[in-house]
Symmetry: none
Subunit: 251 residues, 2 copies
């Protein structure tokens, strides 16, 4: 982090602020639109907003932490010695990634048993994935990084498997009008999530020093916006369409 | 607290932030879902959200107080001399613990007389328990600590007794669909509450210096998340199911 130049500093400073604004705006969009979907889908939209709200909080903390780590004086950048808290991302994911899976399950409106069943197994896999990724992220040793990455990929692949194979029957039970969208939601989950393990390995791909650092932060932030706010909009559209198909009309 | 190393500092720093985020997310979940339960149970869910909201506020204050107590400079940790305010937890419990019991009583929808009766006696016992625990927590003398712990255990055991014996008849009057869940809620109360007296005695079990301090903070935070947010989700599920059984449907 000490190798940042002033251009990279400006980029990251604005990136944290931008991502906070995007997440907070998404949160308000979901919650202000709660009553445009029928009662059955409101908890899915509540959870969708929780995910972006928790992310907004953590991006705001990252912004403050980043600001406190540097002094800028006439375009000269010096470090203050106060650390930038890298853990915020992981703390955020620990809360938001299980909730992301819950929001997908809730919008499918499965039986209560299936909802609890899938919610629990996917949630546990998500928490495991994040806990296994953390030690590698904090290590400066590249083979350590790769080792923990490999371990975290096991629950990751399990989640992908469940979303594609395990939910296949449930998708066929969805109204025909939204079946396409739910498939898209599963794909968006997998594509946007695949971003994370790739970004994680950037240092292993030969990116070093300030470049690796900027690459990580930009990559993770884009992935967060797509998988939380973008994915959330998709969930909202599904809930909205299903409400309409099932005869709900907002007065 | 002066004996903390940088790893423990990072752990506690992120613990306070994480617990704040979890409590705030839980609060919003309860309040945004208010209309998914029938009018009878809304006050229970309002109180459930109050508990996590008050906790969120205190965790944010603890986060700030902790941050102000230390200076981090290039991974060197020094104390500023500004104290970390240990009293926040007790101030929080003084408000939230009686409310936790009230939320359990409200969701049972007892007669007005019983609600006021049980609410008052359990509430007074809870306040007494916390007031008696405080002097021991602030004392550095281990026998003092044990003495106040023993006194606080009297109202604690009284509460456990009421939850198991005194509410037995009321539980049998609950709809059969939620009787199991209410029993689980009583058990979650007792198990998660039992965590507190155990954590309290960690220094008496031989944990000293920085370790005792980290143990206390981590232990209390986990117990708070389970007994406030986790328990609250259980109360919400009970209220939701009872609403359905009693013919409420959200449009």
């Amino acid at each position: 982090m000490e190798n940042l130049n002033i251009a990279s500093y400006d980029l990251l400073y604005n990136l944290f602020s931008f991502t906070f604004a995007a997440m907070m705006a998404a949160t308000l969009f979901f919650w202000l639109n709660l009553r445009t979907v029928s009662g059955v889908y409101r908890s899915a939209i509540v959870v969708t907003g929780l995910v972006t709200f928790i992310a907004a909080y953590h991006y705001f903390q990252m912004f403050l932490s980043f600001e406190n780590a540097f002094i800028v004086n006439n375009k000269e950048l010096t470090v203050t010695g106060r650390p930038f808290n890298h853990a915020y991302r992981y703390v955020d994911w620990l809360l938001t990634v299980p909730l992301l899976l819950v929001e997908l399950i809730l919008v499918m409106n499965l039986s209560q048993k299936q909802t609890i069943n899938k919610g629990t197994t996917l949630g546990i896999a998500a928490v495991l994935m994040i806990i296994l990724g953390y030690p590698g992220e904090m290590s400066s040793d590249l083979s350590d990084r790769f080792f923990w990455w490999s371990l975290a990929m096991i629950p990751f692949l399990y989640i992908v498997f469940v979303l594609f194979i395990g939910l296949k029957d449930s998708i066929l039970n969805q109204p025909v009008e939204v079946r396409g969208q739910i498939k898209v939601a599963c794909w968006v989950t997998i594509i946007s999530w695949s971003f994370y393990p790739v970004v994680y390995l950037l240092p292993n791909f030969g990116l070093t020093g300030g470049d690796a650092y900027v690459g990580l932060q930009v990559g993770y932030s884009i992935a967060d916006i797509v998988s939380k706010a973008g994915f959330g909009v998709l969930i909202y559209i599904i809930a909205y369409k299903k409400s309409k198909v099932e005869g709900y009309s907002i007065s």
